[in-house]
């Protein structure tokens, strides 16, 4: 079963606008990660936020985490046509041992940035 669920499933915006995607999950986590996938390619890691962090920035990316609501958001500012891709959240469980290196992925948000 999916741990993370992204919302919305699809998002279409104009170049220069901000894009916000949300992720909800069900169980306690060690960390939450966001990945990007361009059409026909493998996933690329974007950013990781640990369970004791509330916000993290990387370039034009801003991620927030609310563990009380079991939710995260990814904000892409000043979007570009090259940001067009699917975005996935993935959670690492809060358990001991090697199993906390297993990620559970959501179904993704398809972002289209129109020039």
């Amino acid at each position: 079963s999916q741990q993370g669920e992204e919302d919305p499933q699809a998002l279409s915006i104009q170049e220069g606008e901000n894009a916000t995607m949300n992720c909800s999950y069900k169980t306690s986590i060690n960390n939450l990660q966001w990945y990007r996938q361009n059409s026909g390619r493998g996933l690329v890691h974007l950013i990781l936020i640990r369970s004791n962090e509330r916000e993290k920035h990387s370039g034009r990316l801003r991620v927030t985490l609310d563990t009380s609501k079991k939710s995260s958001s990814l904000l892409i500012t000043a979007s570009r046509a090259a940001d067009t891709a699917s975005y996935f959240c993935a959670t690492a469980p809060l358990i001991s041992g090697g199993s906390n290196y297993k990620l559970t992925f959501g179904k993704g948000t398809l972002l289209t940035v129109n020039p």
Partner: protein, 113 residues
């Protein structure tokens, strides 16, 4: 793609035939993973490995087996392929030791007719 390759990149096979997909890494990472990606399901973990000869099942392991005899290679075998195993298969690697990010290969598109 972080020193990770998959072979073959595309394969068409018939129902009932065995199929082996190979993942090869040059990063010396401890963890290796096999996922399948299907429309409407996102990525689902099939099996993963946490060391040579150490493997464990994922969410959708039925009909699949894996082997890891060397750090750099992780094989996924479909003993008797079925049409429901038509999918895109991704291999990923992760260093472990407190580093949780995964690095993905380019994928293998498998069609079972």
């Amino acid at each position: 793609d972080a020193g990770i390759t998959q072979s073959p990149r595309h394969k068409v096979t018939e129902t009932g035939t065995p199929v082996t997909l190979r993942c090869h890494q040059t990063e010396n990472h401890r963890y290796m993973y096999w996922y399948r990606q299907d429309p409407g399901h996102g990525l689902r973990l099939i099996h993963y490995s946490y060391g040579v000869k150490d493997t464990d099942k994922g969410e959708v392991s039925d009909g699949y087996s894996v082997s890891r005899s060397k750090t750099e290679d992780f094989l996924l075998t479909l003993e008797s392929a079925t049409s429901s195993q038509t999918s895109v298969y991704f291999c990923a690697i992760s260093p472990g030791q407190g580093v949780y990010e995964q690095y993905f290969g380019p994928g293998t598109r498998l069609t079972v007719t």
